[in-house]
Symmetry: C2
Subunit: 278 residues, 2 copies
């Protein structure tokens, strides 16, 4: 018997860094598959659909996964809203990838914010930091959905800043949310990490109980703490944003949330090896 039946992998900093795969990533995934471990890949991406991202992972990173194994902030948001929205009518802000996931979940995109039961917000900014053409009116639309239609407010993730192509900051979903909350006083439900909502959705897809599942991530606040709160076993890898020296600065409470610290994803396999006495 394996100690764990399922595993959730954060992608950036765990399986890849930028567009470079992390050595041993694909190999580890394949070994786990060979052992019959259920796998979910998790990302806070707010702009792409699962199909689009699967293509990117396959072609650029060399990791071959199916859309069903992938949970993105976009798809998790679509699942969450589909579960709670009675009329199916949503007004959305963001990119086509979010729109596709919402439609795939059976939701109807309305152009008039006053018809919306839910306001669903992703990033209105493109990868250079411009408000995209189709999002130029969405500040107004989002405000009207909340104030005039009393729509329920859901945001794909709380991420405020990203590094742009020049390495300098560009705004994300959380920056747009800041504008809308300032104007209306309404706070959204966030779905993406560090909200536990996306972990709940990932666990549901994984089909195993939290005690039977491992979360592998590179950030304590964003990956480890919410997974631990749900009862998962947590693995921090040092190939991403957290370095060995950062661990010493963590307070005891946070340190206790991390069950294992591994140099890289390659070591994860240790948790799944059958010991001779098993």
């Amino acid at each position: 018997m394996l100690r764990y039946r399922g595993i959730i992998f954060d992608i950036d900093g765990v399986l890849k860094r930028g567009s470079q795969p992390i050595p041993g990533a694909a190999e580890t995934v394949n070994m786990l598959r060979g052992l019959g471990v259920r796998i979910i890949f998790l990302s806070n991406l707010s702009t792409k659909s699962r199909e689009e991202y699967v293509e990117i992972l396959r072609n650029r990173i060399g990791i071959d996964i199916s859309p069903e194994e992938l949970v993105l902030a976009t798809s998790a948001t679509a699942d969450y809203v589909a579960k709670h929205c009675k009329t199916k009518k949503v007004y959305y802000v963001g990119h086509k990838g979010l729109r596709r996931e919402l439609e795939k979940a059976g939701l109807i995109i309305v152009d008039d914010p006053e018809e919306a039961e839910f306001l669903v917000v992703g990033s209105p900014f493109d990868e250079r930091g411009y408000v995209t053409e189709e999002n130029r009116w969405k500040f107004t639309g989002a405000i009207r959905a909340l104030l005039l239609a009393k729509a329920k407010f859901v945001a794909v993730n709380p991420d405020k800043l990203f590094p742009g192509p020049d390495g300098k900051p560009i705004p994300g979903t959380g920056t747009f949310v800041g504008a809308i909350t300032a104007a209306t006083g309404v706070q959204p439900v966030f779905i993406g990490k560090p909200s536990i909502e996306i972990f709940k959705i990932a666990l549901e897809k994984l089909g195993v109980r939290p005690e039977e599942a491992v979360m592998v991530g590179d950030q304590v606040d964003i990956d480890i703490i919410p997974a631990k709160k749900l009862g998962m076993t947590t693995v921090l890898v040092l190939t991403g944003l957290t370095k060995k020296e950062d661990l010493e600065k963590l307070n005891v409470e946070k340190r206790r949330m991390i069950d294992y610290v591994f140099d890289s994803v390659r070591d994860v396999i240790k948790l799944f090896r059958r010991e001779p006495w098993d």
Copy 2:
């Protein structure tokens, strides 16, 4: 001798309502001019230059004033920044009217946010609630000015929402500020009402001491309180957003800030009549 040597008029709700003049407005202004009273007209407008607004007041409202008698949030901001900015280099967000006022005050508009000593923020939205074409990158630019150049942050006014042409809300400067503060943690200095900065600049232009000046406005929080704090005599008129029944709901402290309540601007002349025993 007159009891007061100068007067500041709020414009909307006092001299005009939308594009309609309030009866007696032009007449009152002319009478005060005849008495030799110094006059400043004050508006929180964040999109227009004084020249543009003087045209509108003359052609649409029938009030004839000179740009020198007008203090707008745009021009007051330009005055404030010109006084504090050593390098003269500013990165700005907003409309051409703000740009014109900044340039007229001797400031240099830089396109690269990293060259800016000041970040000056007006509304990036047009009158229908779209982010204007030239402001599509300004969320990113503003964030970079603050985070990379450590620019000082000044906002034209804190107004978050306005009624659009259809009477429904559209976002203003304060909504943009909400986004930038969420992303960076930096709060601006606001110049427009209810900040006292714009009143200080108006008094300076008026050239009289606060005790010699009257403020006429239609909103307690925005017009009356900051003027009273500076020591002016305050007049609330009931032709704008505040109605008679609203006065009863005011707490004692706020009620005490209002020296006179008049039905309309027409009654202001009472404060300037020479009494027979003078």
